[in-house]
């Protein structure tokens, strides 16, 4: 569903022989899981450790202490300022995305505690139009920054995005400076941003709030790239390095602070939030 919409997402794995793989089949080792098995394993393949994309609500459940999550800005929806129509109207794509994901937009924001530490949490969902950032995503993320700043708490963001939402034209590009401004206001209020990058974090989201994290954590094997690998390949006509633009090479090159497997995220975030709790 998302393939037609993403700006620059590519799957780093080859397609299966039939061209379509069941979403519960591991693209690396072909292990297949029932829904409840995947959920139980926080969408990590038990055989090879591949990290599947994870629904935003499941991510909130994984990170937030039980009963602590209070969602905010639930009423915000995308509009269609350009009356954008490609092969289908944008408004129709939005309705379909909401029906498929049960989400109003590609991001959920709210307050929570993680390991007992109060924080604000913003989680993106790749299944909602490739996690693309339009005006609604920009507004919800900005409100999460304000909410963190007002309460003097850190913001933990979990990104998964193909970039800006083309269907909103230039206004989607404006969500880059908008979210950057929100982070800068939050920084001035003394609240840190802990940015967790998951597969994929690319283009407009990488080039705005995601890389402004005071601490940046990446999940294993996530594609973290500004342009898509296909674009890079076409432009440079070079053979791309084996782990090009994945979390591991980004770590080696100094762009992320740690590569943390998904099951360890709650404990790592708890430690970090504990350290920031001593900030003045």
């Amino acid at each position: 569903m998302s393939e037609r919409i993403d700006v620059s997402i590519e799957s780093k794995q080859p397609e299966g022989p039939s061209g379509k793989r069941h979403p519960n089949t591991c693209p690396v080792c072909e292990s297949h899981y029932r829904d409840d098995e995947l959920a139980e394993a926080v969408w990590v393949c038990g055989q090879c450790g591949h990290h599947f994309s994870m629904p935003a609500r499941a991510r909130v459940d994984q990170l937030a202490d039980a009963g602590s999550w209070q969602e905010e800005a639930t009423e915000i929806r995308s509009d269609d300022p350009l009356g954008f129509f490609d092969l289908r109207p944008y408004s129709e794509r939005l309705v379909e995305a909401e029906l498929n994901t049960g989400l109003g937009e590609a991001i959920v924001v709210g307050s929570a505690t993680i390991g007992g530490h109060a924080c604000e949490l913003a989680v993106m969902d790749f299944a909602f139009m490739g996690g693309s950032m339009g005006s609604a995503v920009g507004e919800k993320f900005s409100r999460a920054c304000d909410s963190a700043a007002e309460r003097g708490l850190p913001l933990v963001s979990v990104s998964a995005s193909g970039g800006a939402r083309m269907q909103e034209g230039i206004l989607s590009l404006m969500q880059l400076p908008k979210t950057v401004a929100a982070v800068e206001d939050m920084h001035d209020a003394g609240s840190p941003l802990i940015s967790v990058m998951t597969h994929p974090t690319t283009a407009g989201v990488l080039a705005s709030f995601a890389t402004l994290g005071d601490v940046i954590i990446a999940e294993p094997g996530a594609l973290l790239i500004f342009a898509g690998p296909r674009v890079v390949q076409q432009t440079t006509r070079e053979k791309l390095p084996e782990d090009f633009a994945l979390s591991e090479s980004n770590f080696r090159l100094g762009h992320v602070d740690a590569v943390v497997p998904r099951p360890e995220l709650p404990s790592v975030l708890t430690r970090l939030l504990g350290l920031f709790a001593n900030a003045q």
């Binding site: 800006a164 034209g169 590009l173 690319t202 790239i225 890079v232 791309l240």
Partner: protein, 310 residues
């Protein structure tokens, strides 16, 4: 937003009209320019006109940053290098004097002939270019120099080394730097305002756009290839996402349209520079006297207000 820009213009127009009675013919050119600006503001471009802008924005004889710099700034001193990795020639930066006051200038630079085009990488910057921009803007902030940026890029360079040097992070950081400055800042899109590579140096107090420039989240060809699965549908894509100045103004993304010479900026570089200089001066005048903290506060508030949602 549109009405705010329009109001400012109408106010200037009426002031000028009353002054004309006193000071005669000298102001006629000025009046004509402002009237043309108002016309552009109210225009509703057709599909043909939008595509014409795409073509003119990329015209090989269109003036580039250094063409404007040599016509508008005295004693221009170019600053080279990012002090870490190299000197990216796709972005030029420097200090110069504009109507008597020192300014910092940052702009994308394309090349005229094959050799220069290659050296300038077709105006597509590496992270080093954005880091040079950042250090120049920080310097300006330190000494109270206003910053003028000229935007003209198909996009940030999509290459292996650019990614390895942190392209996404550099673009984000450059926006953050611009949102932290406490000096007046004016950006003008003078050709192609290509996505992240453009916004990296366009987060300014006043964002202007020449009448035939384009500003967009993706190139018409890129958009067509993804959404229509056919790059030859670029014209249709451009019509759908409306990268022209009139639509950018209507959406509140820019604050004003800069008039070009008849037929386009490539027809007369001197006149194009004169018209751009007038608009930059007006923008700087409007920002004069605003307290430094207030400039930053308003700039952030402006960019935080952009977007349309339900």
């Amino acid at each position: 937003m549109r009405s705010e820009a329009e109001l400012r213009l109408r106010e200037r127009l009426s002031k000028l009209r009353s002054m004309r009675l006193l000071s005669g013919a000298r102001l006629d050119g000025e009046l004509e320019r402002l009237e043309r600006q108002l016309e552009l503001m109210q225009a509703e471009p057709t599909e043909e006109e939008i595509w014409r802008s795409v073509e003119l924005a990329r015209h090989q004889d269109r003036p580039y940053t250094l063409d404007y710099v040599e016509r508008l700034f005295e004693d221009f001193f170019e600053l080279h290098g990012d002090r870490a990795q190299g000197d990216d020639q796709a972005i030029v930066a420097g200090l110069g004097r504009f109507e008597g006051r020192t300014l910092a200038v940052v702009g994308h630079q394309k090349g005229r002939d094959l050799k220069e085009r290659t050296a300038r990488n077709f105006g597509m910057a590496y992270p080093e270019g954005y880091r040079k921009a950042m250090r120049t803007m920080r310097l300006a902030d330190r000494f109270g120099f206003p910053v003028v940026t000229l935007v003209d890029t198909p996009g940030a360079y999509p290459g292996v080394v650019a990614e390895e040097h942190g392209q996404g992070g550099a673009i984000a950081a450059s926006q953050a730097v611009m949102l932290r400055l406490t000096v007046p800042t004016v950006a003008c899109i003078i050709g192609e305002g290509g996505s992240g590579g453009a916004i990296a140096i366009a987060v300014a107090d006043r964002v202007l756009m020449q009448e035939n420039a384009i500003y967009s989240v993706i190139s018409p060809e890129g958009c067509a290839a993804i959404l229509w699965r056919d790059a030859s549908q670029a014209r249709r894509a451009a019509e759908a996402f409306k990268p022209d100045a009139a639509h950018c103004l209507e959406l509140g993304v820019i604050d004003g349209i800069v008039v070009e010479p008849e037929g386009g900026a490539h027809e007369d570089h001197d006149e194009a520079a004169r018209l751009l200089g007038e608009s930059v001066r007006e923008a700087l005048d409007e920002l004069d006297g605003v307290p430094r903290d207030e400039l930053r506060r308003r700039r952030r508030a402006k960019f935080r207000s952009l977007g349309v949602y339900a």
